[in-house]
């Protein structure tokens, strides 16, 4: 009588709600959204190098966006904010996705070199495209769903490099303005999905701290509407 595989994960609960805050591109707008929801973020905005900021009734824990699902799934953070791109790539993480916060809007795209037919040629003559990406699972799923064969090459750094030096025929990556692509002589060929920031919750915190989680969800929702 059970649903999921028993993991050994554990995390201490109790005390103020712990909210995982993404550092990097989403940070500013995340803090703005929290301010609008009545959470004091002045300390996080300051010069401090701390990772944990204890506020009134809530503790802000800062981390890489891609770590947010890990912390929230284990209950080390009760709730969190991260990009849909991260959630898609880590779709096997059991976190509740409660709200689309609307900001941090990016497109996940397939891009290739401008005026270069290598993508199409590779598919036609070799039956297979080589795609470099930081999102191997999103890429694999996308090409599978569109019935194409690819060799997905996972890279950690600047993906734009890969097609320029011949590591790959194209890339799957997140694009905000498209400037980086443009500067590297790349162009969007297909749009895969639009990604925005999402508010997520640990499933036990969602049950045991329902009132607090619901209240914050409502405030964040008001903030988006307003």
């Amino acid at each position: 009588v059970s649903v999921e595989v028993a993991g050994m994960g554990r995390a201490k609960a109790g005390g103020p709600l712990k909210l995982a805050v993404p550092r990097g591109a989403l940070l500013e707008e995340t803090l703005d959204a929290l301010d609008a929801a009545g959470i004091d973020t002045a300390e996080v905005r300051g010069e401090s190098r701390s990772l944990i900021f204890e506020g009134e009734g809530i503790t802000l824990v800062t981390m890489r966006p891609s770590d947010v699902p890990t912390y929230v799934e284990a209950g080390a953070a009760d709730i969190g904010i991260t990009g849909k791109d991260v959630l898609l790539e880590q779709a096997d993480r059991m976190v509740y996705e409660l709200l689309d916060l609307g900001f941090g809007r990016c497109r996940m795209v397939l891009a290739g070199r401008k005026g270069d037919e290598r993508l199409g040629e590779a598919e036609r003559r070799l039956g297979m495209m080589r795609i470099a990406t930081k999102y191997p699972r999103v890429a694999e799923r996308y090409f599978e769903q569109t019935g194409r064969q690819v060799e997905v090459i996972e890279v950690k750094g600047s993906v734009e490099l890969a097609p320029l030096v011949g590591l790959a025929d194209g890339i799957v990556d997140l694009v905000a303005t498209g400037r980086t692509l443009d500067e590297n002589d790349l162009e969007v060929r297909e749009e895969i999905v639009v990604c925005t920031a999402r508010f997520v919750a640990n499933r036990v915190a969602h049950k045991l701290r329902a009132a607090e989680v619901d209240e914050l969800t409502a405030k964040l929702r008001e903030g988006i509407a307003g």
Binding site: V1, S2, V3, E4, V5, A6, G7, M8, G9, R10, A11, K12, A13, G14, E73, A74, G75, A76, D92, M94, Y96, E97, L98, L99, D100, R198, N202, R203, V204, A205, H206, K207, L208, A210, D214
Partner: protein, 331 residues
């Protein structure tokens, strides 16, 4: 020299084993004390027998051929083997039957997730006693088991497996759309749920909002009122079932740590009616779950209502350790 064992399996050494054994004995004592006799079944069964219970073959992660070419499978839980056992060994027994177990089950793991391939479950099956009394008795035993484990802060979520199935049927949603909506609900992906619902033709914005709002209702008996206010025959039936169970629990003085949760949706195919999940504030994962599966025994040729629960022993042990540490801090 280090000789590896498969990921998701582990050895248990004496210090841990002593604590686990104490926990095991405490739980079995609770179960036996309430008339639940302990049974054991083989870890390997015929694949087609297990598949009969789950209604699909995907539940067992490990299958292999024996020397005669028969397809065997490692069990993924104890509920289906016990349904098989009851049908074979107790077909003519006078219900209700009360059985309990403490056994290993086997699931597939995803790499690098710290998940277990082999894990211990302790639980009970109450066969032949319908809702609401059967459900209430199972919850009562579960509460006693949590107390015996030292998890006095643990909370039990009570939901209804048929609520959204019936609600979607009422709204005329079927086929692929229905399945993907139920999947969103089970994952609690509210953003995706709204998107899926808004794509279904013939569903108004209001009905869409109702579905989302229903899945977020959790708390005391007041949420049943809130649910009814959202309307519909399916909601009416589900809330009536939950209320009956909740009242039966109140009559037994066992409702205090039960939270009604209309968003609860377990993805095992055999549930019908009441479903349960167990949480402890010391742990970010669920400790166990259960519910009613009134149609399961019928698949094995014995038409009896049934209910039960299972606790993940490794997690109960972790929570127990955290709770002990907390009590020491407090004192």
């Amino acid at each position: 020299m280090i000789h590896p064992i498969p990921p998701g399996t582990r050895d248990v050494l004496p210090d841990e084993m002593r604590e686990l054994r104490r926990l095991h004995l405490a739980l079995i004592e609770v179960f036996e004390g309430r008339g639940y006799g302990e049974v054991a079944t083989p870890a390997i069964e015929y694949d087609e027998v297990l598949a009969r219970g789950s209604g699909r073959t995907a539940d067992s992660a490990y299958r292999f051929f024996d020397e005669r070419g028969d397809l065997l499978a490692l069990r993924s839980d104890m509920t289906i083997p016990i349904a098989r056992l009851v049908a074979s060994r107790y077909a003519n027994a006078e219900p209700p039957l009360r059985l309990c177990y403490l056994a290993n089950a086997y699931r597939a793991v995803r790499p690098q997730r710290g998940q277990m391939r082999e894990f211990a479950q302790a639980g009970v099956e109450l066969i032949g006693m319908p809702a609401p009394q059967g459900t209430a008795e199972v919850v009562e035993v579960l509460e006693a088991a949590l107390d015996a484990s030292g998890l006095t802060r643990a909370v039990i979520g009570l939901g209804d497996a048929d609520l959204f199935r019936q609600l979607l049927a009422e709204l005329g949603v079927e086929g692929e759309a229905r399945d993907s909506i139920l999947e969103r609900l089970a994952m609690h992906d509210l953003v995706g749920l709204e998107a899926e619902l808004s794509e279904v033709k013939g569903i108004s914005a209001e009905q869409c909002a109702t579905c989302v709002a229903l899945s977020q209702l959790r708390g005391g008996s007041e949420v049943l009122e809130q649910a009814r206010a959202l309307g519909g025959a399916a909601v009416e039936r589900a809330t009536a079932r939950i209320q009956e169970t909740f009242e039966a629990l109140e009559a037994r003085g066992a409702a205090e740590r039960v939270r009604i949760d209309l968003g609860l949706l377990r993805d095992l195919g055999y549930y019908s009616g009441a479903i349960l999940e167990v949480y402890d504030p010391a742990l970010g994962h669920i400790l166990g779950g259960g519910g009613r599966y009134d149609g399961l025994l019928k698949r094995f040729g014995v038409d009896l209502p049934a209910a039960g629960f299972a606790l993940y022993m490794e997690r109960v042990h972790v929570a127990q350790m955290e709770e002990e540490a907390r009590k020491e801090e407090d004192s």
